[in-house]
């Protein structure tokens, strides 16, 4: 029992210690990332404001992440509905192929997409990253949405239909509000995955790098390393904030509808 506790603590340290080091060095005045720490500074954060290339990369990443998240979630809704509401020949096989990118090495997706795009005579750019990210985000969205749809009693939809609604208004008035927590979860997870995805973005980003690709290129300049730490700190804080807010809304929704659907926390 005691050794299990020690193991759990060690495991948590292994997981989170590197993340705790980020803010430590982000506020350290030395340009060298090493102990002992020198003195407290916010210089690296102000330096971030001057890096216009980084701003472009951030904007790029946000655009790509939002678009991919919306696309993946929309596709996910259709797929999850199809699986939970209907049964059709080849259902299992089709779902297997849709979920495959979950375990497919990203490098394979990236390289094959790159070859296809170039061979077809197109240029890479934000759109090709969006395509790649939608591909890898969709299975996650489906996994979350499927549990949301599965928790939805099909007679709720029948009841709305029986009470005079059309299939479309039934979806709008009953289905959508009840799976909304799942949809928000799917959007956020897809957004987060796209935001920090590196391999596909590295291969397909073209002339406009995403934030992870830009960060990687910055590592060649030791002078900029503390600024990278500062940026990392901001991203960690924002991620925690975002997930907390999402979970808050999800739990409130779950409490209201009386059943807990989807969600990672």
């Amino acid at each position: 029992m005691k050794s299990l506790k020690t193991y759990a603590v060690l495991y948590l340290i292994f997981l989170y210690a590197p993340i705790f080091l980020l803010p430590l060095f982000a506020f350290n005045s030395s340009t060298i990332i090493a102990f002992p720490l020198e003195s407290f500074t916010t210089e690296w954060f102000t330096q971030l404001l001057t890096l216009s290339e980084m701003h472009g990369a951030l904007l790029n990443s946000l655009k790509i992440a939002v678009t991919s998240a919306v696309l993946a979630t929309t596709l996910g809704i259709f797929a999850a509905m199809a699986v939970s509401r209907y049964s059709f020949p080849g259902q299992k096989g089709i779902m297997g192929f849709i979920m495959l990118p979950l375990v497919l090495p990203e490098i394979i997706v990236a390289v094959s997409l790159l070859i296809v795009i170039l061979r077809m005579g197109f240029d890479t750019g934000a759109w090709s990253v969006i395509a790649g990210h939608t591909l890898i985000c969709t299975p996650f969205a489906i996994a979350i949405l499927q549990s949301a749809f599965a928790a939805l009693d099909p007679s709720l939809e029948e009841a709305a239909y029986d009470l005079g609604e059309t299939p479309a208004s039934t979806f709008r008035l009953v289905t959508l509000p009840l799976v909304m927590p799942g949809i928000i979860s799917a959007l956020l997870i897809s957004f987060t995955i796209s935001m920090d995805e590196f391999i596909i973005a590295f291969f397909l980003t073209g002339a406009e790098p995403t934030l992870p690709v830009y960060l990687f290129s910055m590592l060649r300049f030791p002078k900029l390393l503390p600024a990278v730490m500062a940026l990392g700190t901001i991203l960690v804080v924002l991620s925690i904030l975002l997930i907390t807010i999402a979970e808050f809304f999800r739990r409130r929704g779950a409490k209201r509808t009386g059943n807990d659907t989807g969600g990672f926390l």
Binding site: L156, A160, Y161, D162, L163, R256
Partner: protein, 371 residues
């Protein structure tokens, strides 16, 4: 609507799920204002039939007529029927009043009138003042009432109820049975209830259709169904029925049955729902059925009004107000159940007691052995 014309008429309705014949030539007329039940074991097609009337299921051949209108191609949202689902299907994201008023969304009533109608429906089901509550915070019985109010506020011609009481505990269920009967009388709407609970069907219905394997085995009012089941199967499904083997023969114009353990008695054609089971001129094999309450244990000094037979008590089941005795007649291996009302001052008999059992030939139902 004239009195003799049925509100709902099912004409030779057939339905297949792949190779499975789910509904077999269903013919059924249901009158305006009737409390009608579809009763049968699970998988007998009763819910499929209900959903066919509601418009949720298609059928292969035949016709579903409501108020003389053929319902083929009319979707559920355009039919004059409303349904109370087994799970109640209360919208959890809406308040009670929003649930009840849901079906009025498309009506041309003013907003105030809609709210008034919803309030009135809530009051009718005994939930006055619950309108603002969140639907998910209600108890099972309250959800049931909201589902009823939500369906009745639209004033449908037919209310369809799919096992509405099966999720409630026994006390609540019995209370709701009485309330449903009262409610149905009050609103005068035709109710069609699906249930697997024969007691529930007997208590609530004007008429009951008993279904087995996609077929209607018998459709009658509760008393006839109980007293004159047309087959062994129906007899066995409705209440408790004792069966004993017998032989039947004809002597002149009278029919005589020799029943194992009970002896010979005269029977009439009216007691044989499938016709007198005479396989040939000399006689035939039969099964006689009789309800536990048609038999009486005779205490000392009592005499039988009709006939009596000796037996031994095999098992005693004490229910407080009633005692069920399983007794064995002489020469019969199979025990026969007798129900006795417990009367103050009369002892419950023990296992192994020698008893005399009074029985009435008129209470017997005679079935073809194979039926």
């Amino acid at each position: 609507m004239t009195a003799d014309k049925p509100l709902i008429s099912l004409q030779n309705v057939n339905k297949h799920y792949g190779d499975y014949h789910a509904l077999r030539s269903i013919n059924l007329d249901i009158k305006q204002g009737e409390f009608f039940s579809l009763l049968g074991p699970s998988g007998c097609g009763k819910t499929t039939l209900l959903r066919t009337i509601a418009g949720f299921e298609d059928y292969d051949t035949g016709a579903v007529m409501i108020s003389d209108r053929d319902m083929r191609g009319v979707p559920a949202n355009k039919r004059p029927t409303n349904m109370v689902f087994q799970s109640y299907a209360i919208f959890p994201h809406l308040s009670v009043i929003e649930n009840v008023a849901f079906g009025l969304r498309k009506s041309k009533m003013s907003k105030t009138d809609k709210m008034l109608a919803a309030e009135a429906a809530l009051e009718m089901v005994g939930l006055k003042g619950y309108g603002h509550r969140a639907a998910h915070a209600l108890s099972g019985g309250q959800r049931q009432r909201v589902a009823l109010a939500r369906a009745l506020v639209l004033k449908p011609k037919v209310l369809l109820l799919d096992e509405p009481l099966s999720a409630l505990d026994r006390k609540m269920r019995e209370q709701m049975q009485v309330e449903l009967i009262k409610l149905q009388r009050e609103v005068g709407i035709t109710f069609i209830l699906v249930t697997h609970d024969q007691e529930e069907a007997l208590v609530m219905s004007d008429r009951i259709a008993v279904m087995f394997e996609g077929e209607i085995a018998q459709c009658d009012d509760p008393e006839i169904l109980y007293r004159k089941p047309n087959s062994k199967r129906v007899a066995d499904f409705i209440g408790v029925m004792n069966f004993l083997p017998a032989t039947v023969r004809k002597e002149g114009e009278t029919y005589l049955a020799t029943i194992a353990g009970l002896g010979e008695t005269e029977i009439t054609e009216a007691q044989c729902p499938g016709g007198v089971p005479l396989q040939n001129d000399n006689g035939g094999e039969a099964t006689v059925g009789f309800r536990p309450e048609t038999l009486t244990l005779l205490y000392e000094g009592q005499t039988a009004t009709h006939r009596e037979a000796p037996a031994v008590v095999d098992e005693v089941v004490y229910y407080g107000d009633m005692t069920y005795y399983d007794v064995r007649f002489e020469g019969v291996e199979k025990p026969v159940r007798i129900s006795m009302r417990n009367i103050f001052g009369r002892d419950v008999l023990g296992v192994g007691t020698q008893v005399r059992v009074s029985w009435s030939p008129g209470a017997l139902v005679v079935f073809d052995q194979s039926a």
